[in-house]
Amino acid sequence: MLKITGVKKTFNAGTINEKAALRGLNLTLNEGDFVTVIGGNGAGKSTMLNAIAGVWPVDEGSIFIDDINVTKLPEHKRASYLGRVFQDPMTGTAASMMIEENLALAARRGARRGLRQGITNSEREEYKERLKILDLGLEERLTSKVGLLSGGQRQALTLLMATLKRPKVLLLDEHTAALDPKTAAKVLDATDRIVSKDNLTTIMITHNMKDAIVHGNRLVMMYEGRIIYDVAGEEKKSLKVSDLLAKFEQVSGGEFANDRMILA
C-alpha cells in the first residue's frame, strides 16, 4: 500500500542550522493498516508525513503508494492518493468559504476542475448525510463560513474532507494536539469510526502514548529520523505506557525524561 525505502532529508544543508531530519527511513504499510507513530520532538514524525505528502522533494530514497512511484510527484498531484489532517486546525480548511464549499473542494480532489458548477444540489444532500457522522450539528450549517467554527469543529471537518474521497493513505499529523481533552476525544472517536468504516490505511502521529496504544493495529516509534521500534497485533494490544517509556529510555539514554510526552 505504502512503501518508503531509504528516505533521507536534511534541512539547511551546509549551514550551522543543518538538521538531518530523516536518516534512511524505511516503512511499509499493508492495506488497512492503522499505524500510530510516537517519538520525541525532532524525531522526524511530521517530516515523515510531509515527505509522503510531497511538501518538498526528498534527498534520497523512494516512496511508493500502491505500486505508483510518487517520489518525484509534486504535492498537488500526490494529493489524489492522500487524505491529510494537520496539527493546526486553521491549516486544513478555507476559512472564508462555506462548509459545503470546503467539502465540494475536497470531493474533487484528484479530479480535473473545469467550468462545471462548483457544487450541485445532490452533493449538498450527500454532505448533510456525511456531516451527521461527526455528530457536531454541522449538517444544519452547510452555508456557514468555516472561519466561524471552533478548532475542534474545523478539525472534524478537515477529517471528513480528507476521507470524503477515499484516500489510499490517510495522514493524521497530531490532529488532536491543539484541542482541549474533551474535543480531542470526540475527534479521535470520529477518526476511529471513519477509519474502520472505510477500512482506511492510516498513519496517525500522536504525543499521547495511551492513544497510540489504544488506537490502530500497529505502533511505530521514531528516533533521530529512523524507525526504531515497530510492533503490531497482540503484542501491541498488551503494551503499557510504562513499556513505551522504558523503550524510550533505552534508545535515548534517558534524554526523554524531560520530554513533554511524559506528561501524556
Binding site: 505528502a53 509534486p74 504535492e75 498537488h76 498531484k77 494529493a79 489524489s80 492522500l82 491529510r84 494537520f86 486553521m90 491549516t91 486544513g92 480548511t93 478555507a94 476559512a95 472564508s96 468559504m97 464549499e101 465540494a104 473542494l105 475536497a106 474533487r108 480532489r109 484528484g110 479530479a111 476542475r113 473545469g114 467550468l115 462545471r116 458548477q117 462548483g118 457544487i119 474532507m161 480528507a162
Partner: protein, 309 residues
C-alpha cells in the same frame, strides 16, 4: 464656488468613476480573492488603452480593439504570474517588475510617442466625455459602462462559482489546504492574475476612448485608485449582507463615490497637482482602520459591551 459648476461635472465624474469601477473589480480579484497585492495594474491601465487606441487608429472596430486590449492585459498578468510562481519572486516585486517593463512596451505600442489621440468626430467610440449629456440614453457613456459592469459582474459571478473558480478562491484563502486537496496553487494564481489584468486593460481601453487619448502615464497610481474603490465599497456597503455579485457591485459603487468626492474637493479649490497625495493619504487611512480598530479600540468599547471594558 458655483454649485452649478459642480453639478455639471457630476455626470462626467459618474462615468469616469464607473470606468474605474471596472478597473477596481479587476483589483478586487487579486487583492481580495487571491490575497495578492498586484502592482502590474499601473502598467496594464495604460497597456489596454494604448492597444485599443492604436488598433482603432489602424482601422479596427471598437469591439475587436477592446478584445485585444483585454488579451494584452491577460498577457501582462501571465508575465507577473510566471515571475511570481515559476521564479519565486514575491508578488509585489513581480508586479513592480512587470509594471516597469510595461512602460517601455506601452511606448512601443504607441509607436514611441507618449500620447496618442483619437478624435471622437472621426471614429465611432463606445464611450466619450462628449457622450455624458445631451445624447440618447443608450448612447450615454454612463449607461454603456453600466452595461459593461453588469455583464462583467455576471460573468465573474458565474466563473467563481465553477469548480475552477472555487479552486482559485480556495488558493487565496488557504494555500496549504488547497494543495492538500490537489489544487495546483501556482496555476490558480496565474489564472487569477491574468483575469484581473485583462479586466483592468479592458477598463483602460474604455478610459482611453472616454478621454480621447492614450497616455503613457495614464496608469500611474492606478492601484491606489483601485484599492480606494475596493475599500470604500467595503466600508460603505459592508454592513449589507450580500452575495458575491453584490460585493463586486459595491466595488464599482466605491469607485463612483471616489470620483464624486474628488470632484467635490477639486470644486472646493484643491490644486489638482495635490490630488495624488490626497488619494494616497485617504487609502492609507482606510487601510489602517481595521488594524487600528483592533489595536487601539479593544472589544467592549461599544454600548452593551462587557462590563470590565
Amino acid at each position: 464656488m458655483n454649485i452649478t459648476t459642480l453639478l455639471n461635472a457630476m455626470p462626467g465624474a459618474c462615468a469616469q468613476g464607473l470606468i474605474w469601477g471596472i478597473m477596481a473589480i479587476g483589483v478586487y480579484i487579486t487583492y481580495k480573492i487571491l490575497d495578492l497585492a498586484d502592482l502590474t495594474v499601473d502598467g496594464t491601465m495604460c497597456t489596454g488603452g494604448a492597444v485599443c487606441i492604436m488598433m482603432m487608429l489602424n482601422g479596427q472596430s471598437v469591439g475587436v480593439s477592446l478584445l485585444c486590449a483585454f488579451l494584452a492585459g491577460m498577457l501582462a498578468g501571465l508575465v507577473t504570474g510566471i515571475f511570481h510562481t515559476a521564479m519565486g519572486i514575491p508578488a509585489i516585486l513581480a508586479g513592480i517588475l512587470t509594471q516597469l517593463g510595461l512602460y517601455s512596451v506601452n511606448l512601443r505600442i504607441m509607436m514611441g510617442k507618449s500620447n496618442q489621440a483619437l478624435s471622437v468626430d472621426k471614429y465611432n467610440l463606445l464611450v466619450s466625455l462628449r457622450y455624458v449629456k445631451g445624447v440618447p440614453f443608450y448612447q450615454n457613456s454612463i449607461f454603456v459602462v453600466m452595461i459593461f459592469i453588469l455583464v462583467i459582474i455576471a460573468a465573474l459571478y458565474w466563473f467563481f462559482g465553477t469548480e475552477l473558480g472555487c479552486s482559485i478562491r480556495a488558493t487565496g484563502s488557504n494555500q496549504n489546504m488547497s494543495r492538500a486537496q490537489g489544487i495546483n496553487t501556482n496555476t490558480r494564481k496565474i489564472i487569477g492574475l491574468m483575469l484581473s489584468n485583462g479586466i483592468v486593460a479592458l477598463a483602460s481601453g474604455l478610459y482611453a476612448q472616454y478621454q480621447g487619448f492614450a497616455d503613457v502615464n495614464m496608469g500611474r497610481g492606478a492601484i491606489v485608485i483601485g484599492l480606494a474603490a475596493v475599500i470604500i465599497g467595503q466600508v460603505v456597503f459592508g454592513k449589507i449582507r450580500g452575495n458575491f455579485a453584490f460585493k463586486l457591485f459595491a466595488v464599482a459603487l466605491g469607485a463612483i463615490i471616489y470620483y464624486l468626492v474628488i470632484q467635490v474637493v477639486l470644486w472646493m479649490g484643491l490644486n489638482s497637482n495635490d490630488l495624488k497625495l490626497l488619494s494616497a493619504l485617504v487609502v492609507a487611512i482606510f487601510l489602517a482602520i481595521p488594524y487600528m480598530k483592533g489595536k487601539y479600540f479593544a472589544k467592549g468599547i461599544r454600548k452593551g459591551g462587557s462590563a470590565n471594558a
